[in-house]
Amino acid sequence: MKYKFLNFLRQLALILLVIWTVVSLVTLLIELVPGSPATTILGETATAEQIANFNQKHGLDRPAFFFSYDSETGVKWNGAENRYLDYWTGLLRGDLGRSFRTDRPVLDMILERYPATIKLAFAAMLVAVGIAIPLGVLAGTNKNKLIDNASSFIALLGISLPTFVIGPFLVYIFAVKLGWFSVGGSYYPEDIILPAVTLGAALSAILTRMVRSSVIEELGEDYVRTARAKGLSERKVVYKHVLKNGLIPVVTVLGLQLGVLLAGAIITEKIFSWQGLGLLLLEDGIAKRDYRLVQGCVLVISVTYIIANSLTDLVYGWLDPRIRLS
């Protein structure tokens, strides 16, 4: 019990350390911007007074970090009066700063758009599981036959075909030619289908391969022989026994992929003009050089990714006692 608790504490400390580093890196990324954010936002024609006002308003007139380096003065200690600490203080109060462009709180802008991205990621996951389980079982139970080779080929094709190729083709066939869906946007409930299929295609390919090898491995186990000897139908053996045990590694991949889906949604959102966090990052953040907004979006996506992965680790340990013991 004591060992378990210590192990949990160690994992938790590592997660917190990783989150601290990621937040620090994102906070300091703004220093990489060539020139200054003020001239980028206000333009070359901005007066010195306008630039000074802008910098003061967004705290950009304060030093970037605890210490700074200048070739003339050398290393200079800035104390607590720095932007890095400002950002952290704000963050701990749930404040991600104000947008450079719209002056709105970044957190509000993100919270408005994040539900759409989460909805899309879960829909994509549903599509992926819906394709992968039947296809993977079919391939695994027909090892090295035509159906297995064909599903392996489809899976590799799914991994290799980029979202930005699959997406427009789906739009062309199902929206332009057949007229079943609208070309883009997120206004009607059915608008989620094409983006979810596009985003879920690669994941379904990965999962199909996993389900296949899990099924092949489990089919060789003793309990399968026992189940068959008892006279159970092959269908029951596969779906009641093999799949139940074979799905454990699949659950892990699913959890790890949730973060990938949230991040990967950026491209899908652009293709389908899906009003999620990815589109906010691209169109309002990067395209308009609203660096504060970019920081906020990157931060929220990264932290969600870390938390999703860490939770998966914990759930995996709970599902499979061998992992806990090791």
Binding site: T21, V22, L156, S160, P168, Y172, L282, I286, V298
Partner: protein, 269 residues
């Protein structure tokens, strides 16, 4: 070797040859515009048709192969060499260096979704070929370092390494002449899959407008430009899409084939 490996090698060879001989194979000047010939369908004159500015799609795809392979090879080489070095140091010396590298640094880099980190870096640094390669190297090296560390941890316990130690060989000699050559095999698989990943990431970033700026004929940029007119002229998107898919598929096939060949457990399945 399985059949898919040979298919992969054949496609990769075609892409490499197309990139090397692009100036000889191209039927038109890659940036020559002809607005009178916008969106021309594939014909004897323009094999893959023309794009929104009347440029020859076939010639642009050939030169696009150069960009993709250049980015892929540079990213795999730089991140591979760096990752292998760091992984070898972590695995060989162990102790505090290993705890810091594998327990902390690797976890931090793996904690970021790769594409998002690349997007963030390019967003703040600005777009361009050099910056794109830098971003992809920053996200790519950890994969090699992790595999190498695991391999070195395994190989350093082998008898021949102990024998070399007993004969008085120095640490560097043991690491570079005894351990590395015996630990490198899985890294070849990693490099092949890394090549597919780099080609895909370059195209993705270019598609998002964060890669190589126009008029450079990057496949990702071509798709982004074609997307706006896709409903009237699907062929402009079809050909660069197929080029990306085939190239990524080829390197994935090679990686998968190699992995199966090098891992006897997988071969029997």
């Amino acid at each position: 070797m399985n059949r898919l490996f040979y298919i992969g090698i054949s496609i990769a060879a075609v892409v490499i040859l197309a990139a090397v001989f692009a100036p000889l194979l191209a039927t038109h000047d890659v940036n020559a515009q002809n607005l009178a010939l916008r969106f021309a369908s594939p014909s004897a004159e323009h094999w893959f048709g023309t794009d929104a500015l009347g440029r020859d799609v076939f010639s642009r795809i050939l030169f696009g192969a150069r960009i993709s392979l250049y980015v892929g090879i540079t990213v795999v080489t730089v991140s591979g060499v760096f990752g292998i070095f760091i992984g070898a140091i972590a695995g060989f010396y162990g102790g505090l260096a290993d705890k810091f590298l594998s327990g902390y640094v690797f976890n931090v880099f793996l904690a970021f979704p790769g594409l998002l980190l690349a997007i963030a870096l390019v967003a703040f640094l600005g777009a361009g070929l050099g910056k794109l390669i830098l971003a992809l190297c920053i996200i790519g090296w950890v994969g090699y370092a992790r595999v190498m560390r695991g391999q070195v941890l395994k190989v350093r316990e082998y008898d021949f390494v102990q024998a070399a130690k007993a004969l008085g060989a120095g640490n560097m000699r043991i690491l570079f002449t005894h351990i590395m050559p015996n630990a490198i095999q899985p890294l070849i698989v990693q490099a092949s899959l890394g090549m597919a990943g780099a080609v895909l990431s370059e195209a993705s970033l270019s598609f998002l407008g964060l890669g190589i700026p126009p008029p450079a004929p990057s496949w990702g940029t071509m798709i982004e430009e074609a997307r706006q007119y896709f409903s009237i002229t699907p062929h402009v998107l079809f050909f660069p899409g197929i080029a990306i898919a085939l190239t990524v598929l080829a390197f994935n096939f090679i990686g998968d084939g190699l992995r199966e060949y090098l891992d006897p457990k997988q071969r029997t399945r």
